[in-house]
């Protein structure tokens, strides 16, 4: 059914999109802003991906072949910053923009102009960050974690790095405020909190995390800036400060940040698996409580990133056990996804394939996380490729696969046309095979002692590195299929309103493609309730 009512309003913009570039520059439309976020993130995904290609080319064989070590370090640093702040986070904000108003029956985000601004800060931030590649002293090369004193050796790029981070933080905070206010204030009548779809729930929790930790990151990098330029001693032992203090403040941001990148992914998967299992999500409420528990725990585990810096034994024990505790709510989630599929009438369209791979491969990343959480073992694994393998398993076949699943799942709703399923499946299989080829050998490399962030290595590590590099190249090329599927999505057969047979939720009650304005009046309670049931 269509909720697009006859236009009773006298606002000229209610008729449809504005003409020309103004539509995008001045937009207050959540769908347009969502599209801009998603396109931006795709571009950044390829920019960061190109840097990954440089890294893997250099590491394909031992010895220094293509790039200067300093530039190599810039590549690892920039790859991380771009993928985290430019790739994954904006992708999820884009999905939130597109889908949350549709899922809660709201006409738009609660604060549409601020929404526009939070997007348009990002191109500024990333122009500044990418421009550092061409500066004297090169781009930042001290790692994305920006530990002092190393990061203070950055050349002209240093203040640009700090201010780019500030801008990303401002953008994220405004986006998060918008998400919270939209969810709390704009829900359809009768949609009580526990009736909200899981994607909405996980984003609500994510938004709280963002508001709580992005300002802390801003504080940390501000201290770096003043230490560098204004003579403060925050991270200077001679002045009574401590470089390790930066790590504490940074990881107080950094660990919740990890969940900021995975909780919306949990939400996406919790939408998709029920649809293609043709069953309701198993344990909806326990999913909510699990996500909230994970979010809470994320604030008290940060020092597991820094077991080797030297901290009191009691601290190590606390952070070790608190970290391991996270496995419990995460286990609840994985169990619920599997239980949702149990005896379901399952079909395996591309979004479902990506979601299944997510459950399986994210869990591998979760388990290696548990290994790293054990402080005595971590002292061996710390700063090796095992860590690289771990976080790429949770981020690539974790977060990024969930983003791809979401794009395939909702693309027909966005464009009004079915994408090419054959190519979608090809993209899935190529991505899944190559992602494992890339990152699985890194576990072995790490356990054998290969350090991360080094452009050269001992010859004993050659075989696995070569395999990983081939996998990375294959993964990179596979993503061209993704772009092709998206670009040609407008040529497919017409999508129905419901799109997927087993789909439930308010977003499937509007036409495909979703009209420029939806839910200009609150959806009727009965409809909202039914769509949810």
């Amino acid at each position: 059914m269509s909720t697009t009512v006859a236009d009773l309003h006298d606002h000229h913009d209610d008729h449809g999109p504005a003409k020309g570039i103004g539509r995008w520059l001045f937009s207050t439309n959540h769908k347009d802003i969502g599209t801009m976020y998603l396109v931006f993130s795709l571009v950044m995904f390829f920019v960061g991906g190109a840097m990954a290609m440089v890294i893997r080319s250099e590491l394909a064989i031992p010895g220094l072949q293509f790039v200067h070590p300093e530039f190599y370090n810039s590549m690892t640093t920039m790859h991380a910053l771009i993928m985290i702040f430019g790739g994954v986070m904006p992708a999820f904000v884009g999905l939130a923009n597109w889908m949350i108003p549709l899922m809660v029956g709201a006409p738009d985000m609660a604060l549409p102009r601020m929404n526009n601004w939070s997007f348009w800060i990002l191109p500024v931030a990333f122009s500044i960050l990418l421009s550092t590649l061409f500066m004297p002293g090169g781009a930042p090369a001290g790692g994305w974690t920006m530990y002092p004193p190393l990061v203070l050796q950055t050349g002209d790029a240093f203040p640009y790095l700090i201010f780019a981070i500030h801008l990303m933080g401002i953008s994220s905070i405004m986006g998060a405020i918008n998400v919270i206010v939209t969810i709390i204030n704009m829900r359809a009548p009768e949609m009580t909190l526990l009736k909200m779809p899981m994607f909405v729930w996980t984003w609500l929790i994510t938004a709280y995390l963002l508001i709580a930790v992005m300002p802390v990151l801003a504080g940390a990098v501000t201290m770096l800036l003043t230490d560098q330029f204004f003579g403060t001693s925050f991270f200077l032992a001679a002045g009574g400060g401590d470089p390790v203090m930066f790590q504490h403040i940074f990881w107080f941001f950094g660990h919740p940040e990890v969940y900021i990148m995975i909780l919306p992914a949990f939400g996406v998967v919790s939408e998709i698996i029920p649809t293609f299992s043709r069953k309701k999500l198993f344990g909806h409420d326990s999913m909510v409580y699990a996500a909230a528990s994970i979010a809470f725990l994320s604030f008290i585990v940060w020092a597991h990133h820094m077991f080797t810096v030297g901290m009191p034994l009691s601290g190590q024990l606390f952070f070790m056990f608190a970290t391991m505790l996270i496995a419990v709510p995460t286990g609840v989630k994985v169990f619920n996804w599997v239980a949702t599929m149990w005896r379901g009438a399952m079909t395996f369209e591309t979004p479902m394939l990506f979601s299944l791979a997510f459950v399986f491969l994210f869990t591998i990343g979760g388990f290696s996380g548990l290994m790293l959480a054990a402080a005595p073992a971590d002292i061996q694994y710390h700063d090796t490729y095992f860590v690289v393998a771990h976080f790429h398993y949770v981020l690539v076949p974790g977060s990024i696969f969930a983003i791809m699943a979401a794009v395939y799942y909702w693309l027909p709703k966005w464009t009004g046309h079915m994408y090419n399923e054959t190519l979608g499946k090809a993209h899935f299989w190529a991505s899944t095979i190559f992602v494992n080829l890339t990152f699985f050998p890194m576990h072995f490399l790490g356990l054998a002692g290969m350090p991360r962030r080094i452009p050269d290595y001992s010859t004993q590590f050659t075989d696995f590195n070569t395999v990983a590099s081939i996998g990375a190249l294959g993964f990179g090329l596979s993503q061209l299929i993704f772009v092709w599927v998206i670009v040609t999505a407008w040529k497919g057969s017409k999508a129905t309103d419901r799109v997927w047979e087993g789909a439930h939720g308010l977003e499937w009650t509007v036409p495909s493609p979703a009209p420029y304005h939806t839910f200009e009046t609150p959806p009727k309670a009965r409809i909202a309730g039914e769509a949810f049931e």
Binding site: N116, A164, A212, G239, G240, H517
Partner: protein, 289 residues
């Protein structure tokens, strides 16, 4: 929490202010960065950025105030604004939390460790022999040289009284607004921002005193760093709050705000209470204890 006072939702039309703001931020960030790197042109780019941002803020607020006065905003929009402001203030709290965290970390961990506590006996013996952990400190390297710590009584105490009083006056102003006593509202609002600006002035006096007579500077080790960063960011927030209060004052004179609808007034009042609470934390942990 969901409120539906009207049949239709309100969605604002497009606006060019966000993109102007982004352009301003680009100029500001590039300008300040190149200035820090030693480029004189950077200073002018930075100031251009500041100008564009001030232009954006005034223009954007003017547009929103105009729309609000035209009665475009329903109760739901009001709720959205309120919740947005609340979470914005929460994010500010977390920003200060980072600096308070640094202060507590230094006082309870890094400084005692440098003095050899816990299992850091050799740190002290081999690296910083003779350094005894104490607070306030400019570190074992005596960074910035001899200094005098800022005493809690005197100016800081006066400032505490000023700010606490201003929190009371803004509350009286709020009650006056609810009671429809416009003259009383204007008077107490004026008292509030005057107290606020007086606070900022006194803070300036304190800084001059610290720099000229006490050799207490931003560069005075961890004590100077935490002292000036915490009080500096706080002072910046008081300045912003006082400016906002002044604007609210002029809006009151123009007859804006009713008993029922006065989001902007309340938002600024919340902000003012927030800077007040931060000050109490500052006074206790930076000046006093």
């Amino acid at each position: 929490m969901t409120t539906h006072t009207e049949e239709r939702y309100y969605v604002p039309h497009g606006s060019h202010w966000p993109i102007v703001g982004s352009a301003g931020l680009l100029l500001l960030m590039v300008g300040v960065s190149s200035w820090l790197n030693g480029s004189d042109a950077g200073f002018y780019i930075m100031m251009a950025g500041v100008a564009v941002i001030i232009f954006m803020i005034t223009g954007w607020f003017a547009a929103v105030i105009g729309e609000s006065q035209a009665g475009l905003y329903n109760l739901q929009v009001d709720h959205s604004f309120r919740q947005g402001m609340f979470w914005f203030i929460f994010s500010e709290v977390m920003f200060f939390a980072a600096f308070f965290g640094a202060l507590f970390y230094a006082r309870n961990m890094s400084v005692p460790w440098l003095g050899g506590s816990s299992n850091n006996f050799f740190t002290n013996l081999l690296l910083w022999q003779g350094y005894e952990s104490t607070w306030p400190t400019n570190g074992p390297g005596d960074i910035g040289g001899e200094y005098t710590a800022m005493p809690p009584f005197g100016l800081p105490l006066i400032n505490t009284v000023l700010l606490l009083t201003s929190s009371i006056t803004v509350t009286i102003a709020h009650h006056s607004l609810l009671a429809g006593k416009r003259a009383q509202l204007a008077i107490f609002l004026a008292a509030t921002f005057l107290l606020g600006f007086t606070f900022v002035y006194m803070q300036g006096v304190e800084y001059v005193e610290a720099y000229e007579h006490m050799n207490l500077k931003l560069t005075s080790g961890i004590y100077g760093s935490t002292f000036f960063m915490l009080t500096g960011f706080h002072g910046m927030h008081v300045t912003i709050g006082a400016i906002m209060l002044t604007i609210i004052f002029f809006r009151v004179l123009k007859g804006h705000f009713t008993r029922e609808k006065h989001f902007a007034f309340e938002a600024v009042a919340w902000y003012w209470h927030f800077v007040d609470v931060v000050w109490i934390g500052l006074y206790v942990f930076v000046y006093w204890m």
